[in-house]
């Protein structure tokens, strides 16, 4: 904002006010546009995951499905209480079945729903008994039964895990273990670092979906498969 020249007689405060106002608008808009330009040029390639973040995508503790040498790696952040995640689970399985031995799935947790962390802990506890996939699939299938009104209630979920041969007493003990709490905390920290705000979120060989949808996921997977060929 420039002050009007002092030599001018104080004839009309209106002109000064106009100048002040227009000057202020110009400064604000310039700052906004300049800031936007500066910020977006410092954030190159939003469609690629920052290489520094690649190590946060796949952690050694994460459960995987498929060969470790597969050329295409799908990292999925999911919430066991999320309906869309349950709906997408068989679709991802289909994608993998369509290209056997070419795709590895890495499952990470993003327990956004209230109470979901207890369900994640239960899945991890089942994993210690070698029943990760059975427990996961049983829970996803019965989701409406234990997650009413978008609130996960582990108390309601136990009956759905019966018949899998799980030792519930041991599971309860494991669910309270610091190791499992550590896994959840690590996944949530990575969720934040990667800017995951919705579930399920997929990264195909490090690339996030341009927009959410099965078609977009399939397109990214096909592209990665074509590159690997």
């Amino acid at each position: 904002m420039k002050k009007p020249a002092k030599t001018q007689p104080k004839k009309k405060s209106g002109t000064n006010q106009n100048t002040l106002f227009i000057g202020a608008i110009a400064v604000l808009l310039l700052a906004f546009i300049g800031g936007k330009y500066f910020y977006s040029s410092s954030q190159t390639g939003a469609t690629e995951t920052d290489p520094a973040l690649m190590s946060t995508l796949v952690r050694p503790h994460a459960m995987t499905l498929g060969p470790s040498t597969a050329p295409v790696v799908i990292v999925e952040f999911f919430d066991p209480a999320c309906e869309t995640c349950a709906a997408f689970y068989p679709l991802v399985k289909e994608l993998m079945a369509a290209s056997p031995d070419k795709i590895k799935l890495v499952l990470r947790y993003a327990p956004f729903h209230r109470g979901s962390d207890a369900v994640v802990a239960a899945i991890e506890a089942a994993r210690r008994q070698g029943k990760y996939w059975q427990a996961l699939e049983a829970l996803l299938k019965s989701q409406h039964g234990w997650a009413p009104n978008h609130t996960a209630q582990m108390d309601l979920a136990w009956p759905f895990l019966e018949g899998l041969g799980l030792d519930f007493a041991q599971m309860r003990k494991d669910m309270a273990s610091p190791e499992i709490a550590q896994i959840i905390a690590q996944d949530l920290a990575d969720v934040r670092a990667l800017g995951v705000t919705k579930t399920p979120e997929y990264f195909v060989n490090g690339k996030p979906l341009p927009s959410f949808g099965y078609e977009q996921l399939k397109a990214l997977v096909d592209e990665a498969l074509a590159k690997a060929r």
């Binding site: 006010q17 604000l28 906004f32 910020y39 977006s40 978008h150 705000t197 919705k198």
Partner: protein, 137 residues
């Protein structure tokens, strides 16, 4: 300092906050939580309404401005208390998983987005109250 200049100052704060909020959400892609939306509802119109009241100067705009600034200040104060942990968070249906108590930005150790909002609303209320006192003299 005339009443006009005080209202102008309030407008400047509101316009800066409006553009700042848009910068955070649209350029930096930080999703606003539900309480942030309520503060936006009260802040954004002030950037327009206060400007209209400046040309030609209409002292009734002080009244309209305060009607937006005071509720906004209350929401911002509530949000600040929530972030500080004074009020427990129990009433949020943040579907996208953005709890209002999450701190997305922290500058210099204590400046968070809700702090900026509270400071802006406080400044607008103070400036408008001063304009009101000045113009009724």
């Amino acid at each position: 300092m005339t009443a006009w200049h005080l209202v102008f100052g309030a407008w400047l704060v509101a316009a800066t906050s409006t553009l700042g909020a848009l910068f955070l959400s649209d350029v930096m892609q930080l999703p606003p939580c539900s309480l942030c939306w309520y503060q936006r509802i009260f802040m954004f119109p002030m950037a327009i309404v206060l400007a209209l009241g400046l040309f030609p100067f209409d002292r009734r705009v002080i009244r309209y401005g305060l009607a937006l600034a005071i509720p906004g200040w209350l929401v911002a104060g509530f949000h600040q208390l929530l972030v500080a942990g004074v009020i427990p968070e129990s009433l949020e249906p943040c579907r996208q998983g953005i709890p209002c108590s999450e701190i997305s930005i922290q500058w210099m150790g204590f400046i968070t987005i809700p702090t900026l909002s509270l400071a802006a609303f406080t400044a607008v209320v103070v400036l408008l109250a001063a304009a009101r006192a000045r113009s009724s003299e």
